[in-house]
Structures are given as structure tokens and as C-alpha cells.
């Protein structure tokens, strides 16, 4: 009885404080530099909207994904704004789980959003999330080592050139490895990288009838090329290297080239953390001459779950955080190099931002990715380095383990692809895609 009345008291107290105080919105976000900076600048938002209070829940990416997925699928209502990626938006939008952002005011200038990014966040004409920062992938290379190898990096290299340069730059005795690529198993780790790579080799996950394509020659070419190159010119133990491990290797001068997220450019050129800050060049992600490059496209975006009690306040926040004014706010506080990249055309037309060394290459990389048509041959899915279907996460986790095992040398490329084909066929049949 006592407990019950205490509970009742607590609940009514909660309701009363809700009435007296300002509206509180809870924002779930990931731990990365741009998001942490946004948290630091929240005062600007609350100053402009004194009737709204902001609470932050910052979590590691995979924890956050699990957390917000549970909440939105059960309509738990714990969050008013969620940070989600280009993988979730098409799936959740289709489910009707997200609030449409088509009614943002004109001053927001929605047409200023980069077309590739906006396309990835739109489902059937409805914009379901506002991009906070966008990224693609590109080649980061050591200008000094390239020169030493007697080669010159073209702006848009081919995989054959990358392989030649990687082998020429490798000096294993001095712990310099020509190329660092992701090898750690995970759908956001090696699968993202190898899937984007396979697009340039003419491979695809599924054909138009959702039949898995891992038994095709293009996949064999992709995986064999990747494994051979890593064997000749990659660092030891590469099967456990993800973004952070490769970042550490590159910053300490152990990688000749590193193909990864464009967001890494600001890390490797930061003299505080990087030993090679003044010796880094950038190039587009390589291709194979088939019309598709191997760069991916990702945008951390802010979305509002359908059914939230604070929709209007949440929308105000999303508008503030992804506006042109926010970019200027960051620039005035921390400089243009720290502005969240890859969302607005106007940013790349800004003469101040053009001075940032990696700005142009980031824009080109983002613009050359096309999530609606990611592959050489047509596919029934959306997504460059992923397939935007709910089954992808589980499927890609298993396939990523196979690719990682092949890199570690415990199985062959053929075995890895055979199991990938088997698993994918089984899961896609079970899920009803293959009739």
C-alpha cells in the first residue's frame, strides 16, 4: 500500500513538474566529434527556445542502434529525437515509424541539402530525417611515400593503380604497409568496405529477383583482389582492424594508403594527434573502369519517432541542428574545419570552407555515390555499402565473419563466398523474398 501511494505520489509529482516546467525533449545520439560539439552548443538552442529543455543520451553506435530500434518498434516513447543513419531511414520510414519533415519552413531551404544525401533520406517523396553530417569514403595517402615510390596519385585512381602503389610503398622491415583496409568483421565494418568495393567490380548482393549473387565471378574477383592485396601490402593482423585501428596505424606512419570514411580526413590532418599531418593527400575511391566507384555514402541524421508527445519541440530542434545558421555557429566558435560536413551545397560554395584541404574531395566523393543506383547492373534495393532491408544486419554480420576469416587465412575466398551464398539464399528464402 505504502509503495503504491509512493508510486502514485511520484507519478503525480512528475506530471505536475511537467506542467510547471518547460517541455523537455530527449535526444539520443552517437559518440562522435560532431555530435559532442552539438551538445556543447545546445545553449544557443535553449536561448532561442526558452520553453524547451534538452536532455542528451549519448551511446556508442551499436548500443544506440539496438536501443532506439527497441524503443521505436515498441513505441516506447523514450526519445523525441533520434540519431539514425541512411540504413535505418528507408526501412523505418516505410514502416510509418518516423514523422515526415516535408513541412519544414522555407527558411530551412531544403533544396540546399546535397541531392545524394537527401535522396538517401527520402521515402516515396517524404523526407523522414534531416542530415546532420554526411560522409563518403576516399583514399588518404602519404605524399612522401608516394613520391619515394616514384608514383603520382591521380585524382581518380583505379584499383590497379592502387595495388601497384601499395606494393611499391610497402616496406615490411620498417613496418610500413602500402595499404590499410577494414578487415574486422561487422556489417558496418568490413562488409561496408567490401560491399562498396564490390560495386566498382560490377558485383551486387542480389539480382532483380532477390537471388544472392555471391556465386558470380564479379564477387570472386572482388574478394580475391582484396585478399591478395592485403596479403602483399597490408598490415599484420588486419582481420581485426576496423576504422579506429587503421586510424591509429595511419596516424603513426604505418600505412601508405588508407581507404575509409571522409570524416577521417580531419583526424589525420590534425597535427595534435597525427604524426603525418602535413604529408597526407586525398583522392577519390578507386574504380575498375566499369562506371561505379568504390565509395560509400552515409549520413548521420536526426529523425523524430512517430507518436512522440513533443513533436513540435523536436522539430524545432532538428531544424536548428541541421540549419545553415548552425554551420555558421560552429564555424564562429571552432573554425570552418570543424563544421559538420557533407549536408549542404551552400557550405561547399562558401569561400572560407573551400580553404579546408579535404573539402573539395569530400564533396566529390559524396556526389559520386548514388544510393538509388549503387551497382553496375540493376538491383531491387537502395543503399551503397548496405542493402536497406531489415534482414541485412543479421545477414551481413554472418557474411562479414566469413570475409574476416578469409583474410585471417583460416578459410579460402571460395569457401567464404560459398557460405555467404548459402546463408543469404537460406535467409532470403525464409524471409519470403525468394519465392
Amino acid at each position: 500500500m505504502k509503495f503504491k501511494s509512493m508510486l502514485l505520489g511520484a507519478v503525480s509529482l512528475g506530471v505536475m513538474t511537467g506542467l510547471v516546467h518547460a517541455e523537455t525533449i530527449t535526444i539520443a545520439t552517437v559518440n562522435n566529434g560532431d555530435m559532442i560539439r552539438m551538445q556543447g552548443l545546445t545553449d544557443d538552442f535553449t536561448a532561442k527556445n526558452p520553453d524547451i529543455e534538452v536532455e542528451w543520451v549519448t551511446l556508442e553506435e551499436n548500443v544506440l542502434r539496438q536501443r532506439v530500434t527497441t524503443d521505436i518498434a515498441t513505441k516506447g516513447g523514450q526519445y523525441d529525437v533520434m540519431t539514425i543513419g541512411t540504413y535505418e531511414v528507408p526501412i523505418w520510414g516505410k514502416q510509418g515509424w518516423l514523422v515526415s519533415l516535408n513541412d519544414l519552413p522555407e527558411s530551412y531551404d531544403v533544396d540546399d541539402l546535397l541531392p545524394a544525401i537527401r535522396g538517401g533520406l527520402t521515402v516515396d517523396g517524404e523526407l523522414y530525417a534531416a542530415p546532420f553530417y554526411g560522409e563518403s569514403s576516399m583514399v588518404m595517402y602519404r605524399t612522401d611515400l608516394m613520391e619515394k615510390a616514384g608514383l603520382e596519385m591521380p585524382e581518380a585512381p583505379t584499383w590497379d593503380f592502387i595495388a601497384e602503389a601499395a606494393r611499391a610503398m610497402t616496406d615490411k622491415e620498417n613496418e610500413v604497409y602500402g595499404i590499410c583496409m577494414r578487415g574486422k568483421a561487422g556489417w558496418g565494418e568490413n562488409v561496408a568496405f567490401i560491399t562498396a568495393m564490390s560495386n566498382s567490380f560490377g558485383a551486387r548482393w542480389f539480382d532483380m529477383d532477390w537471388k544472392p549473387q555471391f556465386d558470380q565471378q564479379a564477387w570472386k574477383d572482388t574478394l580475391t583482389f582484396y585478399l591478395d592485396l592485403m596479403k602483399d601490402a597490408g598490415p599484420p593482423g588486419a582481420s581485426s582492424n576496423g576504422f579506429n585501428e587503421n586510424l591509429a596505424l595511419f596516424q603513426t606512419g604505418k600505412c601508405g594508403m588508407w581507404i575509409d570514411a571522409t570524416v577521417a580526413a580531419s583526424f589525420v590532418t590534425n597535427p595534435e594527434d597525427s604524426e603525418v599531418a602535413d604529408k597526407v593527400g586525398f583522392a577519390l575511391a578507386p574504380d575498375k573502369g566499369l562506371g561505379k566507384r568504390s565509395n560509400w555514402l552515409w549520413a548521420w541524421s536526426l529523425a523524430i519517432p512517430a507518436g512522440t508527445d513533443n513533436e513540435a519541440a523536436a522539430k524545432k530542434f532538428v531544424e536548428w541542428a541541421t540549419s545553415k545558421e548552425y554551420l555558421e555557429l560552429v564555424a564562429s566558435n571552432e573554425g570552418w574545419a570543424n563544421v559538420p560536413p557533407g549536408t549542404r551545397t551552400s557550405l561547399y560554395e562558401n569561400p572560407e570552407y573551400k580553404k579546408v584541404p579535404f573539402a573539395e574531395m569530400t564533396l566529390q566523393s559524396i556526389n559520386s555515390a548514388d544510393p538509388q543506383h549503387p551497382t553496375v547492373d540493376p538491383v531491387p534495393y537502395v543503399g551503397v555499402q548496405f542493402v536497406a532491408i531489415p534482414e541485412f544486419q543479421g545477414l551481413a554480420t554472418v557474411i562479414g565473419q566469413q570475409f574476416s576469416a578469409a583474410l585471417a587465412g583460416t578459410i579460402t575466398a571460395d569457401q567464404a563466398l560459398r557460405s555467404a551464398q548459402q546463408v543469404a539464399t537460406r535467409e532470403m528464402t525464409k524471409a519470403g523474398y525468394i519465392k
Binding site: E60, E61, V63, R67, T74, Q78, Y79, L247, Q251, T252
Partner: protein, 276 residues
């Protein structure tokens, strides 16, 4: 008579024990050391052991960015609360099963243990829905309830094994002398079972403190304990090792200190009945 031990043998055993001890402690030591490095030094290869510029920068960043004391308070309330409620339920349960076993006692014990064999994620959605409908999401009360329930089988089992070690004859002697059930439990059983109860208490506080599935999945901004505090410093894209280490050190320090002060009780309790 004690067995004669040669000095050489003694030295070998000592060195070996220290070696094993250090090996087990090394990850924690490394975390603590890393928390005093800069992000660049944290990933330096080869890593430096102590010869780096010690800095408190990570701690100040972490304190600035997160509300450590809120998370800390949540952890304390959740772990202590769930353990105490668990003990209140488990002591009578274990007493009855140890001293007045019925035909199905063994089965009941096995059934309790079997609830621990289910992967927690299997019941995440049902529990989440119940919590949503009862307004327990992101509340300490909700977490205390869940952690009490998930740790209860372990508490009952531990207490049961301790109680089993206590000779029934002593309890019977007390009964013959006219002790009531209440007096029997309070004056005879409890003093003899204190080491067992204490170690159960300590171990469960540690288990609840470290629990990272339910505490992460059922909380958002208000009831999140230190596990969520740590999870906010890890990132797949970006350098974070030093800050993560600082956050981890701050999260484990209280429980480490508690463990240090209570190690006698813990060891005594855990080895209670080990030698028969």
C-alpha cells in the same frame, strides 16, 4: 602438523601467485594508465608504460561532458536496492529449502537456475512492453525490480549452499532448548551464516553494478547507471581510448574500493565449505 615447505618451493609459489595476480589485474591497470595519457599516446606503438606525460585532461573532459554523480547515484541505488530486496526474499527461501527440504526442492532449485539459461535478449521485447505500459521505463524502481529478479536465482543458490553447510544438529539443539523459529533463525542460524550472507551480498552488488544489458536497454536520460556512462565514450569512428579509459576507471573505482575493503569477507564466504 603442518607440512614442511622448503624455501625454494615457497619462493616459486609466491612468484607464481604474484604472476597470476598481476596477469589478472593487468587489464585494469592498463585502463587506469591509459586514462592518464593523451589520445595520441593511448594509441602509440610501441606503447609506453609509465614514461609518458601524465595528464588529467581526460578526467576533466569526462566530468564536463557527463553528469557522473547522477550515474553513480543510480548505480548505487540500483545495485544496493536490488541486492537487499533479493536477500529479504532469498533468506527465508534458502532456509526452507536447506532445512526443510520437500520432495521437489531439488527440482525447484534447478528450475530457478534454468531461468538464467535463457539469453536475456529473448525477453527484452516483452519486458520492454510491460515497462512501457506500467511507466517503469527509465526509472530506478524498474531497474531494481528487474535486477532483483534476474539475480534472485544466484542469491538463493549461494545461500542454499551456505546453509547446507550448517549442521542441522545445532539448530535442533536450539529447538530442544526451547528456541522459537524466529529465535532460531536470528540467534543461531544467522550468526553462523554471516560470512555466507556477506559474500552473497557483496557478490550481488558487484553483479548488479556490472550488469550492462538491462541497465542499458531499459534506461534513457534519468535512470542510466554507470554502464551507460561508459557506453557514451566508445565510438567506432574516432579516437576515444583515453577518455573511455578515464570513464571506465571512474565507473569501476567505487566497486574496486569496496571489493578491496571487503576482500576478507569475500574470500571467506567464497571458500566457505570448499574444504570438506
Amino acid at each position: 602438523m603442518a607440512r614442511a615447505v622448503t624455501p625454494a618451493r615457497k619462493a616459486t609459489v609466491t612468484v607464481f601467485a604474484w604472476g597470476v595476480g598481476l596477469l589478472i589485474f593487468f587489464p585494469i591497470l592498463w585502463t587506469i594508465l591509459t586514462s592518464f595519457k593523451t589520445e595520441a599516446e593511448a594509441i602509440a606503438s610501441p606503447p609506453s608504460f609509465v614514461g609518458f606525460d601524465w595528464t588529467l585532461e581526460n578526467y576533466s573532459t569526462v566530468m564536463e561532458r557527463s553528469n557522473y554523480f547522477l550515474h553513480f547515484l543510480n548505480s548505487v541505488v540500483i545495485s544496493v536496492g536490488s541486492t537487499l530486496i533479493g536477500l529479504l526474499v532469498a533468506i527465508p527461501a534458502a532456509w526452507s529449502m536447506a532445512f526443510v527440504p520437500g520432495k521437489r526442492t531439488k527440482d525447484v532449485l534447478m528450475w530457478m537456475l534454468s531461468t538464467k539459461m535463457l539469453p536475456p535478449v529473448g525477453v527484452l521485447i516483452p519486458i520492454y512492453l510491460i515497462f512501457r505500459d506500467t511507466g517503469l521505463l527509465d526509472t530506478r524502481t524498474g531497474l531494481v525490480i528487474v535486477l532483483t529478479l534476474i539475480n534472485l536465482p544466484i542469491i538463493v543458490w549461494m545461500l542454499y549452499t551456505y546453509f547446507k553447510e550448517i549442521p542441522v544438529d545445532i539448530l535442533e539443539a536450539a529447538r530442544m532448548d526451547g528456541a522459537s523459529l524466529r529465535a532460531e533463525i536470528i540467534y543461531v542460524l544467522t550468526p553462523m551464516a554471516v560470512p555466507g550472507i556477506a559474500s552473497t551480498l557483496l557478490l550481488n552488488i558487484i553483479l548488479a553494478w556490472n550488469e550492462a544489458f538491462w541497465t542499458l536497454n531499459l534506461t534513457a536520460a534519468n535512470a542510466a547507471p554507470l554502464t551507460a556512462f561508459i557506453a557514451s565514450y566508445s565510438s567506432p569512428e574516432g579516437l576515444f581510448y583515453a577518455k573511455l579509459s578515464a570513464a571506465s576507471t571512474m565507473a569501476i573505482a567505487p566497486i574496486l574500493i569496496m571489493g578491496w575493503f571487503s576482500q576478507k569477507q569475500l574470500v571467506r564466504g567464497l571458500t566457505f565449505g570448499a574444504v570438506k
